[in-house]
Symmetry: C2
Subunit: 343 residues, 2 copies
């Protein structure tokens, strides 16, 4: 096998205005770097594509710094160590790293963690057993706290966060209503994931369908989409309802609100009169649950009692298109780019 | 002294449209009732006037039922037992009761508690040591949780909730910024209550003045007013800021939002990116803190280390005007109606 001598990466070419387009990304080729003492070379196997990345493409900082123009797009990967001059990492090791949209990266080991391929398929550490799964688990533990018999609603229900929110809440005795886009995703959520009810947000009559599916109101709304779904769920919230807010994908492209929609004074009146809790969180705010998460969820993933879907795209060059499609809900399950085969 | 034979009460004559007006209230006279076995007759000494009453005047239910047309306006009072056929209550006893805007009321003792006039002046049990004080205390303990060095902002800072929020937070080591209406109230908040800074919301430039007064941003905003103050504070909220929401007096009369104001999508984006907590509460949701409240605050009220202001109006017939003035911020301190002198 000829030795590979070049690496490729995808950089931010322009800050998107609204929805990202092809020309906001650029693929670049550079010479494969060699690790110096105290470094290792990582070879990306799977790149995770996640909605939060849209925020990093803006010129203005969100909760984390923006990607600079010409900078490598950020992202978490499962990589394999290709060469190492770093204690504790040897060629062939699988690791989790934040090296971004790139085929290769040098690392001094900061923020890099070993992945045990015997625990579960390596790519699950980017999905059901990774950041999205942990977001579901920690947001329910810390904020949602569903009680047996309560109603939990989650959107993007076939996605990596929503699917675990629903399955965990249902395992805890709650009634779970999912929202997903299209008949295929809805069938999966109902039949494979076992949600009590599912609503197709692409069908007409979302507001009425949701009200019908939640005859006792909503006690926990796990907010990961924003937009029209939030507007539909909001009037159904019960007294003392909890709303963990981990994502707002529908709003990421900067859509403005339309007349007649929920206003801030109306929202605040409901927060008061229904004693609602709205709380934003990012998974890494809640590291105290990390160990419990793997202990609780990994066995259930292994024995099949927790299900998950993955949508795997081949080739780093296809990452921008896959990412743009995800923002429109075109993926089905956790979106991953297979950048290379494991050695 | 001739025996009193009539009682008076103020009833809801009409549901207000926007700001209440005189004709929304009606005073009625009726024969003084006599207690049957298992009852007592209460003679109101002080009636508490509070912003939440505006919500009860609406035809639509808020977190508590509306006052029916022709029904006595709701409210908490300190009363004195005038006659009793009820064990445990004897003529002359002071009690707290929810008998409303009335000179006299029959009671079977439900929800009635003794008031010890040796503990503090009886009317303080409607203010600094009553519902408003407890709202401040419990909201800080459960939701606000200010840490030493953090910045706490509270509006209606000379009022019974805001003044205690600020004094308690400052005693705990936080930096406290108050907002009040007019020079007299501002001087009181700064000089008598000892807030670190105070802003007059009636002066121009609220947004800039608030930003100048909070150079390190805002960690706790104790929301008891809503409206323009909320809009001014919102952009200053720090990551992980907490917003206990106990009142929205500026919005109670149904003012709608103006163009250019904060939108729900923008609010939700900030909830996520700053990991804000917005949580509504009503004082009686947090009864677990009731005993601590009296144990912690009553001694400080007695020794003068916690200050409070009262605005006392004489005569039940003046309650509607006083209440309407309160909704416009015309009171200075806890608004009370002295309905009668203690016997």
């Amino acid at each position: 096998m000829p030795q590979q001598t070049t690496a490729r990466r995808i950089v931010l070419a322009a800050h998107p205005s609204g929805e990202p387009v092809d020309t906001d990304f650029r693929i670049e080729t550079h010479e494969l770097p060699e690790p110096a003492a105290g470094q290792m070379l990582l070879r990306t196997i799977y790149l995770s594509l996640d909605p939060y990345m849209r925020g990093r493409m803006n010129a203005t900082r969100s909760y984390a710094p923006s990607v600079p123009l010409g900078g490598t797009m950020v992202g978490e990967v499962v990589a394999q160590v290709a060469a190492s001059q770093l204690d504790g990492f040897k060629p062939g090791d699988f690791v989790l790293a934040h090296s971004g949209w790139t085929t290769h990266a040098l690392s001094d080991g900061t923020g890099v963690h070993h992945v045990d391929p015997a625990l579960s398929p390596i790519e699950t550490r980017l999905g059901v057993l990774g950041m999205p799964g942990f977001t579901a688990y920690a947001g329910l533990r810390e904020i949602g706290r569903p009680q047996p018999g309560e109603t939990v609603v989650v959107a993007a229900a076939s996605g990596p966060v929503g699917s675990l929110v629903g399955q965990l809440a249902r395992a805890g005795g709650a009634r779970v209503v999912g929202i997903a886009g299209g008949a295929e995703k809805c069938a999966y959520v109902r039949d494979e994931l076992g949600f009590d009810a599912v609503i197709d947000h692409r069908a007409p009559g979302l507001v009425q369908a949701l009200a019908d599916a939640c005859p006792d109101g909503v006690d926990v709304y796990f907010e990961n989409v924003g937009g029209a779904v939030w507007q539909a769920v909001f009037p159904l919230l019960n007294t003392f309802a909890r709303v963990p807010v981990c994502g707002l994908i529908a709003d990421y492209n900067g859509t403005t609100s339309s007349p007649g929609e929920l206003t801030v004074p109306a929202l605040m009146r409901a927060v008061l009169s229904k004693r609602l809790t709205l709380r934003g969180f990012i998974n890494y705010d809640l590291e105290q649950y990390r160990e419990d998460f793997l202990n609780d969820v990994a066995p259930a993933v292994r024995d099949g009692s927790i299900r998950y879907a993955q949508d795997i795209v081949d080739g780093l060059e296809n990452a921008p298109r896959a990412f743009m499609g995800m923002l429109k809900g075109r993926n089905f399950g956790k979106l991953l780019v297979r950048v290379a085969e494991p050695a």
